[in-house]
Symmetry: C2
Subunit: 207 residues, 2 copies
């Protein structure tokens, strides 16, 4: 129905996460109207992803072209004794945006999936274990691993698995607090969330 | 927060329709994990949009690289006496998918926007008018213009404007029928739709 170049564009872009054929065809017609120079810019930013980026050898976050480690791992100001374990790179970015965490990260690379029993093998759990073990022989050992995983069955399953594996290292293992999200309307919270909020209630300290 | 190549990718892709910064960063990390050859493929399908595509000189749909006209305009089997006027290229594709229309198209290139009073100037109305006029001097004159515009205030406003302009050509002007969408649940139809469905009711012909 569309000429070949558009069909090929759609076939390729429709396979990207949360882009379907309909969205891909909208993109094709949108891009079609740009100048050749602009199309080249789009192509260039895609190609630059491989030319100038590496995976951090320490935490598996992204690092700029020549660096073996990422900016966070390279920062001497960061607290080397806490590692925040996240599923993916964008989770690191989300936590960085809060400005409340000054430790290091470990990108797990996914969670355990119920449908794929072998999925735990793909996670960077061994690397995390070794990293903690190695740190314990150095002057700033890791003392706490924060499991910053999604509050979903998969996240919970992964946390339990990590807890079991990391037990042998002796570090303190914590999970993110659960409760009502900031700005939420209590009336519309699901029972699970409201239950967790009750369980993790805090005493107010009036002076 | 992210290394430069990712920031630049996000800045560029976040400006595309229905992709925001969050979606763009997800795409960046997804693409990052592909092979260099695959990234090249993505870049190539973008660049091919300019190398191998033209805008049809007749209806403004897309045509393959060397053709002046698109496949539809070039098809001698199509009914030259009916022109279906649509807002954008993907609307042509949507109508083609029904398999119920065998005439030609005219891509208007947008609708009149309330917020931009001058937006009617950008539409290919003059081109449509000239096209109909020219056809009337040839052996297969255009007899009907179907205004296949969205059933929205903008679509309605554009249809009224087109009706006024095209009146001088003497062609029959029609709009798509309105009513309940196939597969819909009457209970959840809005009043406007239900009203239109009532107005455009058809007599059932039992034999």
């Amino acid at each position: 129905m569309y000429p070949n170049p558009i069909q090929e564009f759609i076939a390729r872009f429709a396979s990207l996460p949360s882009i379907g054929p309909r969205q891909a065809s909208r993109l094709a017609f949108h891009l079609l109207k740009k100048s050749t120079g602009e199309l080249q810019d789009y192509a260039n930013v895609i190609l630059a992803l491989h030319q100038d980026l590496n995976v951090c050898a320490e935490c598996f976050y992204v690092s700029g072209g020549k660096d073996k480690n990422c900016e966070i791992c390279n920062d001497p100001e960061r607290d080397q004794s806490v590692i925040c374990v996240v599923e993916k790179e964008t989770d690191t970015a989300a936590i960085e945006k809060t400005g409340r965490f000054k430790g290091l990260y470990h990108i797990l690379g996914g969670t355990i999936s119920k449908l794929e029993p072998e999925s735990y093998k793909k996670l960077r759990v061994k690397e995390l274990f070794e990293r903690i073990k190695t740190s314990q022989k150095e002057k700033t050992p890791v003392k706490e691993a924060i499991l910053a995983l999604n509050p979903t069955p998969e996240g919970d399953m992964t946390a339990l698995y990590l807890e079991r594996v990391l037990k042998a290292t002796g570090v303190k293992i914590t999970r993110l607090g659960r409760g009502l999200p900031s700005g939420a309307d209590m009336e519309f919270a699901d029972e699970e969330t409201l239950g967790e909020a009750l369980d993790s209630r805090k005493e107010m300290k009036t002076k």
